[in-house]
């Protein structure tokens, strides 16, 4: 079956790396092959939901107070770490096995866009639930739906300290509880408009006031989990954001004020530009062309931020298919593409986790609401490269006996199509052992970039 350059690009640049047969399948009609992959993702893997975890966290807290010693002996705190690890590993494994890896790449992109980090017991438990519950179901929706889901999610509300942010003139505020601007600031700077998009400190405070009262239910006390709007913590009054006035609503309807702001922010032209720049940077090049950005931004504005339409525009744009490949794979992309390419049964969850941690991209550990960098220069360190050589070698050592039924040539072709340089092909085929051949394949310029 013939393999085209575009088939290789479809599988490796847009997808998470070619699996067996993918390049050939993509080569028939690379654009259609990608578009049919665009869909929302769901998780029916039986792993804990944020609600279940909230209950467990609350019970843990209660038990610890009641019988501190016993709780320490059992140390259920460790269980939260384990459940979180399991969730992240499950996502990586789904991505590795997927036939629609474009959507899994998109999940990674937005999960990193709305980055939350595992610091403290609560966030260790909750961080991995955000992408599952708020991002995955909205991958084919308008961006405003995703934004609203994310901002209402306990992981984000907790991570950026909004669950205890109360307006100074609210009933709760009058009893001394204060406003926290953290979530509002990051929504403007990172999630929507982007830094230097013309908003000021006054806008941050206005959004923060509108978001005051957006909180998380207390499972034991309130017998509920998830998002809750605390009317008594909501700052009363009309708010003005980016020159636009948002009416005050009474009681529980107060939630609508910030909802309206978030919808407007999601559909703001600056948000379109910001997100489209990030998408172009993620998929095509660290410094994407103005033409490509313009095409995506047009599609965004015309579709009111419909993610599927924007992705279709990205797939249709000639600029997206340029050669040579511009993107240097992040550790996550490197590990997942290696796992997809080599199809190692030995790629256990634990190994995937260790690889991501060792190579510098442990899930939910970026430590910043800006997430992990999407720039090659931040991943292309000299020591980082050595780290990849060592990891590739250890993987190749485990793979060599499993790979015996498939020739190195076949694996190389399956991963990189017919576009492998003469130099790479010869290095791999003339390697002195199978393990060295696999190491050289994984470390080849063609495999390191996409």
């Amino acid at each position: 079956m013939s393999m085209s350059v575009q088939g290789v690009i479809a599988a490796n640049r847009f997808g998470l790396g070619a699996k067996s047969g993918e390049i050939a399948a993509a080569s028939l009609n690379p654009r259609a092959w990608l578009k049919q992959q665009l869909q929302a993702l769901d998780f029916n893997d039986g792993l804990a939901s944020s609600g279940e975890l909230e209950i467990a966290l609350a019970e843990y807290q209660r038990d610890r107070k009641a019988a501190k010693k016993m709780a320490e002996e059992k140390n259920p705190s460790i269980q939260f770490g384990k459940s979180a690890q399991k969730m992240s590993i499950a996502v990586a494994k789904r991505a590795i096995d997927s036939n629609i890896s474009l959507s899994w790449r998109l999940l990674d992109f937005f999960s990193n866009h709305f980055s939350v980090s595992s610091s403290g017991r609560r966030m260790v438990a909750l961080a991995p639930t955000l992408e599952r519950e708020a991002i995955a179901p909205n991958l084919d929706q308008r961006f405003e739906e995703m934004l609203l889901s994310v901002v209402r999610h306990p992981a984000m509300l907790t991570y950026l300290n909004n669950e205890r942010s109360f307006g100074p003139n609210s009933r709760a505020g009058k009893r001394g509880r204060g406003l926290n601007e953290n979530l509002a600031r990051e929504i403007l700077e990172l999630h929507t408009l982007g830094v230097n998009a013309g908003y000021g400190q006054a806008d941050v405070i206005e959004l923060a006031k509108a978001l005051s009262g957006w909180s998380v239910a207390m499972p034991i006390k309130e017998k509920a989990t998830g998002f809750v709007f605390r009317d008594r913590g909501h700052e009363p009054g009309i708010r003005t954001l980016l020159g636009r006035r948002y009416k005050q609503k009474a009681g529980p309807l107060g939630v609508r004020q910030a909802e309206a702001m978030l919808r407007d922010l999601a559909n703001h032209p600056a948000t379109a530009e910001h997100l489209c720049f990030k998408l172009a940077r993620h998929f095509v090049a660290d410094e994407p062309s103005a033409d490509l950005q313009a095409k995506l931004t047009d599609a965004w504005l015309q579709s009111q931020g419909n993610i599927r339409r924007v992705m279709e525009a990205l797939i249709d744009a000639d600029e997206s298919w340029q050669t040579p490949a511009q993107k240097f794979k992040t550790p996550r992309e490197f590990v997942i593409s290696a796992a997809r390419g080599i199809a190692l049964p030995a790629f256990s969850g634990r190994k995937i986790w260790n690889a991501l941690a060792t190579l510098g991209q442990q899930p939910f550990q970026s430590g910043s609401p800006a997430g992990y960098s999407d720039l090659g220069s931040d991943w292309r360190g000299a020591s980082a490269l050595i780290g990849r050589v060592e990891w590739s070698t250890s993987i190749a050592n485990q793979a060599k006996f499993l790979a015996q039924t498939t020739s190195e040539q076949a694996i190389m072709r399956q991963c990189l199509g017919d576009t492998v340089s003469e130099r790479t092909a010869q290095s791999v085929l003339r390697a002195e052992s199978r393990e060295q051949a696999l190491t050289l394949l994984l470390m080849s310029p063609e495999f390191l970039r996409r």
Partner: protein
């Protein structure tokens, strides 16, 4: 044509060779006879390792390669010599604990490393990924076997259980891999600069880095030895060492790699202590290299290579294997050292004596019957009265 010729070679009978015992008789109380199989991946150059200084064509075929070692080679007997790096092996030869065999082949008819290695490991005259010669021997004799590897190599595969051990914290990538990568990145400035910087950084960060890297095999051997001694020690182990695919700069690379091998084997002897007297070490490679040196100071994939037996149990101090000569007509396909005997003939003879294997058992391990001809009379290994009290039939 080529294939048929090699297949014929695979059946070379050792009856044609008149040999004294390969195994020495020992009076001392013996532990279990031990076997260490050291596989050199990448095709060792035989002419640069077991050097036939007597052959008039050597200088002609290898003006620079031979010159690089000619003055310093370590003389054996009959005009053979060892590469100057092999000082410990040379001392063992003098102590009759080293037995080199010249011009051997597994019968593998082509020149691909991977297939050649699989072929050699299977020991069936064909590639089989489920079964290896040492694994079948381990199964037949119910031995305790160990692979210093992450997964069981083909050599040790059979229905028997094999232990694998590999240090998790050792750096995995070999010098050879880094050399290949530097070459692979030659036209990619970004990656080649990064890799070079990374390697420099490593050396700066730890001035021991280079020696550690080179000493890696030594560390593995040390661990291997410690896992073979004592009442629970393994009877048999397999080690692997790469770095033999010397297409260019062979003189320097082999000087380094052979030194690593030599030091590693010395560490094995040291680590085995008294068990060395019961030990047979086998060092082999998938095939040899071209008789003529190439244009980049190296050699390319060839056919026959050398095989080494070492250990206190070996009746050594002589070079075996018939020398085919290096004249153009003597060379295989006018380019490679021609095999004159089959690797498995020697392995069968040595294993048969050392592990007291019956003909039936040997037939299962090395199912090519012709390789077994006359193996009982070979006496390659120096086992105690056991072999005389239980003569093989």
């Amino acid at each position: 044509m080529k294939r048929r010729e090699l297949c014929r070679l695979a059946g070379v009978s050792m009856a044609a060779l008149s040999l004294p015992p390969l195994i020495l008789a020992k009076d001392a109380e013996q532990g279990s006879p031990k076997v260490v199989w050291v596989m050199l991946r990448g095709a060792l150059d035989p002419l640069h390792t077991l050097v036939p200084t007597f052959d008039p064509d050597l200088s002609k075929l290898r003006p620079t390669l031979y010159k690089a070692i000619k003055q310093d080679v370590l003389a054996l007997s009959n005009g053979y010599a060892l590469h100057p790096s092999l000082v410990n092996l040379h001392a063992w030869y003098q102590a009759k604990e080293l037995l080199p065999v010249a011009a051997v082949s597994s019968g593998y008819p082509s020149r691909s490393h991977f297939d050649g290695q699989d072929f050699l490991e299977a020991g069936l005259g064909r590639i089989d990924h489920e079964s290896g010669w040492l694994g079948r021997a381990v199964q037949a004799k119910n031995k305790r076997a160990l692979a210093i590897a992450r997964a069981t190599p083909i050599s040790l595969r059979s229905d028997a259980t094999v232990n694998t051990w590999y240090p998790s914290r050792l750096q995995d990538a070999s010098t050879a891999t880094y050399e290949s990568l530097l070459k692979l990145y030659e036209q990619d400035e970004q990656l080649s600069t990064l890799l070079q910087d990374g390697l420099d950084l490593q050396e700066q960060a730890n001035s021991m880095q280079t020696t550690q890297r080179q000493g890696r095999f030594i560390d593995l051997v040390r661990s291997c030895a410690s896992l073979m001694v004592g009442p629970q020690g393994n009877d048999c182990a397999m080690l692997e060492l790469g770095g033999w695919d010397t297409h260019k700069g062979q003189a320097n690379r082999l000087a380094r790699s052979l030194k690593e091998l030599d030091k590693g084997l010395a560490v094995l002897k040291e680590g085995l202590g008294g068990e060395w007297q019961n030990t047979v070490v086998v060092v082999g490679t998938e095939f040899g290299r071209t008789a003529k040196e190439n244009g980049t100071g190296g050699t390319d994939h060839g056919t026959a290579s050398a095989l080494f037996f070492a250990g206190g149990a070996i009746n050594g101090g002589r070079v075996l294997g018939q020398w085919p000569g290096l004249s153009e007509s003597a060379l295989f396909q006018k380019r490679d050292l021609r095999p004159t005997s089959n690797v498995y003939s020697w392995l069968a003879a040595v294993l048969g004596e050392h592990w007291q294997m019956s003909q039936l058992e040997l037939a299962q391990v090395f199912p090519s019957a012709s390789t077994l001809a006359n193996s009982a009379s070979l006496r390659l290994v120096s086992r105690s009265g056991l072999s005389s009290s239980k003569p093989m039939t």
